[in-house]
């Protein structure tokens, strides 16, 4: 048996059998696609098309902006009908700039050319090509993949790790993908290995997905890629925990994985890289798990980006009963959707419609310091102490207790017998700290501005003073000369 490196963690009931029985089905084109410009971490993309333009499938519609950003491509050919605000798939319900695209049904590809003989190419070229295709981490974090690959190539990494953990309950998109497209994933792994010049590739898959493990091992035979099984326990799929489980390396705090010679990507990201390099196909669709007992038919769908969640559910299944909560992503780290009329974006690994007893909501009661959260925390923090400090308004004390190391996995809130909203408290505190930092930075800048203005005003006053003095002196001299002229006559 392998040594269990994960400290703490919880064992929520998986509910994976709801959606991992059937194969991935393709979702036909809806009548309108809503391409959000904020589908990734970092600055939103800037639109390149105007209302009324005709675009073809795979054509670049929004360019990436700034260092950390990702472009957006048209999932199908059609006409741009609007460039307006639309509710974003975000708990706040705030709007985001969206390109509305009306498919013309021709599904006509733009002229895209695959990369011929990629392994002979310079690794940097692979990275830029991945960036140009708009590929982001499809595990849910949506960090632009090219930036990660580029910096890993620069700092030099030994190991590329593909994350097939998928430890969130309900989600089976990676599971089905590994079962059906194992060869494409291995191909993507080799390409990414070449892109970052990694010496070894390890793929970690949780042991509750035996068929996926078997298919991937079969596809990886002979390619030198190790496919390892990891114990299935939440949050095994989190980057720091999977790295420690597979390689025994503990990523130092506040450092990027590349600094420890590692880079980690989701298996779906690897497949997207394979499609981009081999077929020249940008990231225009993704696998979405549709699950939750409030739905009649659960399953996995390959959905073009920009499809509304409501269109997906109306087509793919109906409602068994009124869902108590709609979630994008998994139940542990996923976010509550304000309503179903929000577009699918690159990070939507799942759309869940959960019933009351699945969520099991209970009123919070006082913390009895039972320390089950301390046992459950995979990062070795003290959730109850941090929460007590935050509730008293002392966010700095929570920061000293290690709030910045909290990955927000939700294990503590899951096990808390008093069902306290611990992760909510921690995210509020992180927001508060970030806000204060922003204010402090701004104050430093304004101090400089105020000083500079003071100097300028003082200088101007001095100059005006000299000017007046000079003018007065000139006037006095002139008066003296006139006086001199009058009296000699």
């Amino acid at each position: 048996m392998f040594k269990q490196a994960l400290r703490g963690g919880v064992h929520p009931s998986g509910f994976k059998e709801l959606s991992n029985q059937e194969a991935i089905k393709r979702f036909p084109l809806p009548d309108t696609l809503y391409l959000s410009l904020q589908q990734h971490l970092g600055a939103p993309a800037t639109p390149l098309v105007k209302v009324g333009d005709r675009v073809r499938k795979g054509q670049l519609v929004a360019a990436s902006q700034g260092m950390i950003s990702a472009p957006v491509h048209a999932p199908t050919s059609g006409r741009v009908t609007a460039l307006a605000e639309h509710t974003a798939p975000h708990p706040s319900g705030l709007p985001v700039l969206v390109i509305s695209l009306e498919p013309d049904g021709l599904d006509e590809w733009d002229d895209i050319e695959p990369v011929s003989d990629p392994f002979a190419r310079d690794p940097q070229e692979i990275c830029t090509r991945v960036g140009a295709a708009g590929i982001v981490g499809l595990g849910g974090a949506t960090f632009p993949a090219a930036v990660k690959l580029g910096s890993s190539l620069e700092t030099g990494v030994e190991t590329l790790i593909l994350n097939g953990g998928e430890c969130e309950p309900y989600l089976t998109c990676d599971d089905r993908l590994m079962r059906e497209k194992a060869d494409e994933i291995i191909r993507g792994a080799c390409l990414m290995q070449h892109a970052v010049q990694a010496k070894e590739v390890i793929i970690g898959i949780e042991d509750n997905k035996p068929e996926a493990l078997e298919k991937m091992q079969a596809a990886a035979a002979g390619s030198g890629i190790q496919v390892k099984s990891v114990p299935s326990r939440y949050p095994m799929g989190s980057e720091k925990q999977l790295v420690q489980q597979l390689t025994g390396i503990e990523l130092p705090a506040r450092s990027r994985a590349a600094a420890s010679g590692l880079v980690m990507h989701n298996v779906a990201t690897a497949r997207a890289v394979a499609q981009t390099i081999d077929q020249g196909r940008p990231l225009i669709s993704r696998i979405v798990t549709l699950s939750g007992q409030a739905l009649t038919h659960q399953g996995n769908w390959e959905v073009p980006l920009g499809t509304l969640a409501s269109q997906l559910i109306n087509y793919a299944s109906g409602f068994d009963c009124k869902p108590a909560r709609l979630i994008m992503g998994g139940p542990m780290m996923g976010i509550q959707l304000p309503n179903l009329h929000v577009p699918i974006i690159k990070g939507s690994s799942g759309i869940l419609a959960l019933t009351e007893e699945e969520i099991n909501p209970t009123q919070p009661s006082p913390c009895v310091r039972c320390a089950r959260c301390v046992q459950a925390c995979p990062m070795g923090l003290l959730p109850l102490e941090m929460a007590a400090n935050i509730r008293k308004g002392d966010v700095e004390a929570a920061q000293e207790l290690g709030l910045s190391d909290c990955v927000g996995c939700g294990a503590c809130s899951y096990t808390c017998p008093a069902s306290l909203p611990l992760v909510h408290l921690f995210n509020y505190a992180k927001g508060e700290l970030a806000n204060r930092e922003k204010e402090a930075r701004k104050m430093k800048k304004t101090q400089v501005l105020a000083q500079r203005r003071e100097e300028r005003v003082a200088r101007q006053a001095r100059e005006r003073e000299e000017l007046l003095a000079a003018r007065r002196a000139a006037a006095a001299k002139k008066a003296a000369e006139e006086a001199a002229e009058d009296n000699p006559s």
Partner: protein, 364 residues
């Protein structure tokens, strides 16, 4: 749009009242046995204790404007009162229980802010204050054999509980072993002859044939209750093990060096409140440290102090003082014994990056 709901949208079905209910379940066998052992007055005492505790809890919850029914239902007041009742002498007068539960629920728990906010263990703090304030009532022990032979009927038991039948109590009274050992040892008698004429035997103490506090008599049933809690994962094993080691090891060592003066480990563990403390008092999560190693140290401290006070101090039963003293040390323990944060050294600064490859397996 109402407040967005955050965080994990799933929850384990652990809940506070379930935990408290299992603790009560674990306490019932020992309590029923004590009812049988000490007869009706014990039952009356238990009823008064639990009843008054719920009364005080409700009163103070109302005073602080909290939802009375919701807080009463979590059963924490019930558990505290139950444990306090087990620590009182079996035929104690009603007002002792009434005052004890006032101290435990109101003074130690509610004014600190209710459930989860108290810093001292309510039952132990109340027992200590009663012991200091009413030394006579708190040490009138009843010998079980006398009771089992001549059961006082319900009427006299009511009189006993209401304190109007002192002569009846004398008929049944008998000192506990802790008292006899402490007083006689004081007068220089040898331990061995002391134990022989008191027909003291391990088996009898195990079954509780010897007088002692209300619930401390049957060590066996308490042990079973404790193991049930351990199996159900309601409590963790570190603190109980700490208490048993903390009290047992010094007793065994002392007995080894001076067998005549110091009683052995078994004696110390099975008499008095050590077993009750080990499984039900020291494992109270509110007043125990948060880390596993911290709980072990906490238990060791309780056991050692209990043994010290029993052997050298003035009071025959030291476990209540020991628990209170260690409760005061819990914040210090929590501050210095913390889990190592992932990716950081024990002192807290980030681990060195790549050159020293830190291939340390996940250390729990």
């Amino acid at each position: 749009m109402n407040q967005p709901v955050h965080g994990p949208h799933a929850h384990s079905n652990a809940s506070l009242s379930a935990l408290m209910f299992q603790v009560i379940l674990a306490l019932t066998p020992a309590t029923l046995y004590s009812f049988w052992l000490y007869g009706w007055p014990a039952f009356n005492l238990w009823v008064v204790c639990v009843g008054s505790a719920l009364f005080w809890e409700a009163l103070f919850l109302k005073m602080f404007g909290k939802a009375i029914f919701q807080h009463l239902r979590d059963g924490s007041a019930l558990v505290t009162a139950w444990i306090l009742a087990l620590c009182l002498p079996p035929w104690a007068p009603w007002w002792l229980a009434f005052l004890g539960s006032f101290l435990a629920i109101a003074m130690i728990k509610q004014i600190f802010g209710g459930l989860g906010q108290n810093v001292f263990n309510p039952a132990m703090a109340a027992r200590v204050m009663l012991l200091i304030a009413f030394p006579v009532e708190m040490t009138t022990w009843i010998s079980p054999q006398a009771v089992t032979s001549a059961q006082p009927d319900f009427a006299t038991s009511l009189a006993i509980t209401l304190g109007q039948a002192p002569q009846a109590i004398d008929a049944y009274s008998g000192a506990t072993f802790l008292d006899t050992v402490k007083n006689q040892l004081g007068q220089g008698k040898l331990l061995s002859d002391l134990l022989i004429n008191q027909d003291y035997s391990l088996g009898a103490t195990f079954q509780g044939m010897h007088s002692g506090s209300f619930g401390e008599s049957s060590a066996l049933l308490l042990l079973l209750g404790g193991l049930f809690l351990l199996w159900r994962r309601v409590i963790s094993w570190q603190a109980p093990l700490g208490v048993l080691l903390g009290a047992g090891v010094p007793a065994a060592l002392a007995h080894f060096f001076h067998p005549e003066v110091y009683p052995g480990a078994a004696f110390h563990l099975l008499t008095g409140g050590v077993i009750l403390a080990a499984f039900f008092i020291v494992t109270d999560p509110v007043t125990a440290p948060t880390t596993a190693r911290g709980r072990l140290l906490f238990g060791l401290g309780c056991g050692l102090l209990a043994w010290l006070i029993r052997t050298f101090g003035n009071y025959p039963e030291g476990i209540a003082f020991a628990v209170m003293l260690m409760n005061s040390a819990v914040p210090v323990i929590d501050r210095y014994i913390k889990p190592r944060i992932y990716g950081r050294t024990r002192k807290g600064d980030p681990l060195p990056t790549r050159p020293a490859s830190n291939k340390s397996g996940g250390e729990v």
